[in-house]
Symmetry: C2
Subunit: 461 residues, 2 copies
């Protein structure tokens, strides 16, 4: 617990301007996007690697839990405090430490906004490929912690694939530098990718060396309307069975389209539309039309109602209107969204969508599914009312059955949101006992006192 | 030590046909491509995951070291036995456990020959991207152990980027399944990529789920001759500063060209050629010519003597003749090759090549450099006579200075060959003490008795 003597030590370390214990601040930092909260004892804003080291050492001395936080835009409770913990916000560590276009890399502090990295890269014809939906405000440290990805990952790989090296502080205050600055590396054990996706439970990342790649010259978008979920899923399989890898392959299911219609944002969708794919191609301007033709050929098939294409920024924006309205539209169905971010091998997407349909009917829970179909990664949203006890019981049973279905299809609990506090009860269903024990040992190695983000990622013993 | 009672236990486990202790077999398995050897006490040929588990358990019971081995084609002593150890050869574990083109994955045992995986993928229009030089005979388990790569990695990423999941047995006999079957994954800690490149020191890999990607329809090759190392390196930087990423960007330095000339394989290289780049582009047939034009434009500059292009299989083979002769050609310089597989950020390649030139002159050691320039990954070969004590002293000093130069340029000891027994003395120069201690702790966690490939990867304490 943060008593006044310990508080004084943190203030001595960071100054009064970067240590907060007032109720307003504590409330602001009590939750992420998950509808749950827990007040921390304090919120710390380190401004440098050395300050993070000092914080971890003080926390060890006084046995205080530390919860790393970027923008708090996660939705599995990954940045949710536990009782008696201190939030370590990286919002003051926003420096670009090095920008090296010739070597296609950038070294950043964890508080840099993700899209700003991409924008910086764009200024010299490069790009930072991962593009999480929250990119405009989330922090790169949070992205790395969750291995959060986005649509472009179907072509360019997940966040983990774009990290060359890290500087970090382990739970017992050890400073490590892992990986390097090169695109090939076979020297030490790969702790870089181990830390990516470890959700702040192994170490606090204080610097990241990120890989940049050439930005595409041109982008084109297709919006494809289908008469059923099944016909859209079949089209996804056809797209992923030919050689043009799209730079986005997004899916919205029947219930999502209904929600958009009810919200009044379905203008232009032909009658009978029950599922929509958004497909993008990128590359040199001369080649994008060829890719689009190949993608259109793959998309053509049973149940196709319409393909609209956009080659200009305004046309592309128009095609995305329905999709962008979705997060608002679903709120009309029910106030609470239980968001499962499941992933299956891409050719099993149809099975998953079919299973979801059946589960929603059986448990009488409205389920809206959409997401990164090209990776088999769906966001499955159970829309419920927190005050409807009966519905909540059915929703939990439905969620349980969904997880079973996903695992039965060779899939995994999370494609890009992580486990956090919300999904850890399910981890033991996916991992066998021996593998789970090894994961616990890894946690123990990096954080022997269990101070980093307790109650996250791994299930209780 | 393997006494007759223990030997009987291994024979009871595997049968007499898969346990060898005869001098001929021991000699065959006493070394990899490194000119050093050490006889093991025995060679074991497990045929299944369960047999590997049983071997590790027996080894723990009798405190016997286990040295995993694929084809023995490594060149850092990674598969070299230590005194009293048993070699675990994966040559009998060659099954394709699952080939799933629709989900773009293949599940293989570690003894499958690497190029066979690519060939299988090619049969349905896919490819396994990593293409180590030894691909025709090396085993995938060895590739994974070393994170061994190849030319195509400049475009498609290293071996580590193509592994979705692993099944493995840790040093204390624990069976783990890490990663999964999906291209996005944010569930458990990423032990998959940790095991890749761990050189058989953490766990024995018994199954690997590998990612496949669409195979290019067409490939074209450029052979570009330059009047100096510096002009070739400048061209590498220009290529990596524009947006067409080549599928190979290989470099041969002045001394390599001299060796090829002396070997009589320089036919067609214009007079004055002192460095050569081999550049490939791949993609759809309609787009490859555009890529080639862009690459030619980037390659054009000071010191360019000639660009030859090949668009057919036979023309391409012709262009590669000089390059393919190199490994034979260098043997004429001196019998012993000390092969350093260093890597630097790609824009520092010119500095590295320049430093190598100076070091060779200063220490009077012939050095032939070539390799994967697009990744900044050079194979720097110090050509020496093992029986020339004075030369060996100079070579060691030269090697030392080379490592310092590489680290000074922000590079790393190994890009794709790994550390093995040969380079581990240098690891402490690249990693700081705290990071190195963490690496040792990881080793301790996976292999508490230190039975897996002792004396490799990490330096002695």
């Amino acid at each position: 617990m943060l008593n006044s003597a310990i508080l004084a030590e943190f203030i001595a370390l960071l100054g009064v301007d970067r240590v907060f214990v007032d109720p307003e601040t504590l409330t602001l930092y009590a939750s992420d996007e998950t509808p749950k909260s827990c007040l921390p004892d304090g919120v710390l804003f380190p401004a440098s690697h050395d300050e993070v080291v000092a914080i971890v050492k003080l926390a060890n001395q006084h046995h205080l839990a530390l919860v790393a936080r970027g923008a708090g835009s996660g939705n599995v409770g990954g940045a949710m405090p536990v009782i008696g913990s201190l939030v370590v916000s990286f919002e003051c560590m926003t420096r670009i430490l090095e920008f090296d276009p010739a070597n296609r890399l950038v070294v950043v502090e964890p508080g840099v906004v993700t899209n700003d990295i991409d924008a910086l890269a764009n200024s010299v014809g490069l790009m930072y490929a991962p593009d999480p939906g929250s990119g405009a405000y989330c922090r790169i440290g949070g992205n790395l912690a969750m291995n959060a990805a986005g649509p472009r990952c179907v072509k360019y790989g997940a966040t983990r694939d774009h990290v060359l090296g890290l500087r970090a502080v382990t739970g017992d205050g050890r400073e490590i530098r892992v990986g390097g600055r090169t695109t090939k590396y076979a020297t030490a054990y790969d702790l870089t990718r181990l830390l990516v996706g470890s959700e702040g439970t192994l170490a606090l990342i204080t610097e990241a060396t990120l890989k940049l790649i050439p930005a595409p010259e041109s982008i084109a978008t297709l919006r494809i309307c289908f008469s059923s979920n099944a016909s859209a899923c079949a089209a996804v399989s056809r797209v992923m069975a030919q050689s043009v890898v799209p730079s986005a392959l997004e899916f919205m299911d029947r219930r999502a389209i209904e929600a958009i219609r009810e919200y009044g944002a379905a203008e232009g969708l032909p009658a009978g539309t029950q599922a929509v794919l958004m497909v993008e191609a990128d590359g040199v301007a001369a080649d994008v039309p060829r890719q689009i033709v190949a993608l259109e050929n793959a998309l053509a098939g049973e149940g196709l109602l319409e393909i609209q294409s956009g080659f200009t920024a305004s046309d592309i924006a128009g095609l995305w209107i329905a999709r962008k309205s979705l997060s608002h539209a679903v709120k009309k169905i029910a106030p609470l969204k239980i968001n499962e971010d499941v992933v299956v091998p891409v050719a099993r997407l149809a099975n998953l969508v079919n299973a979801i349909d059946g589960l929603g009917k059986f448990h009488r829970v409205p389920i809206v599914s959409f997401g990164h179909a090209g990776n088999g990664n769906l966001h499955v949203n159970l829309m419920v009312h927190a005050d409807d006890a009966d519905e909540m019981v059915r929703a939990r049973a439905c969620r349980d059955a969904l997880i079973e279905a996903v695992l039965g299809l060779g899939g995994s609990l999370s494609g890009e949101h992580g486990i956090g506090s919300e999904k850890r009860a399910y981890v033991g269903r996916e991992l066998d006992a021996s593998t789970l024990a090894m994961m616990r040992d890894v946690k123990q190695l990096f954080d022997p006192r269990g101070l980093l983000n307790p109650g996250k990622k791994l299930p209780d013993v």
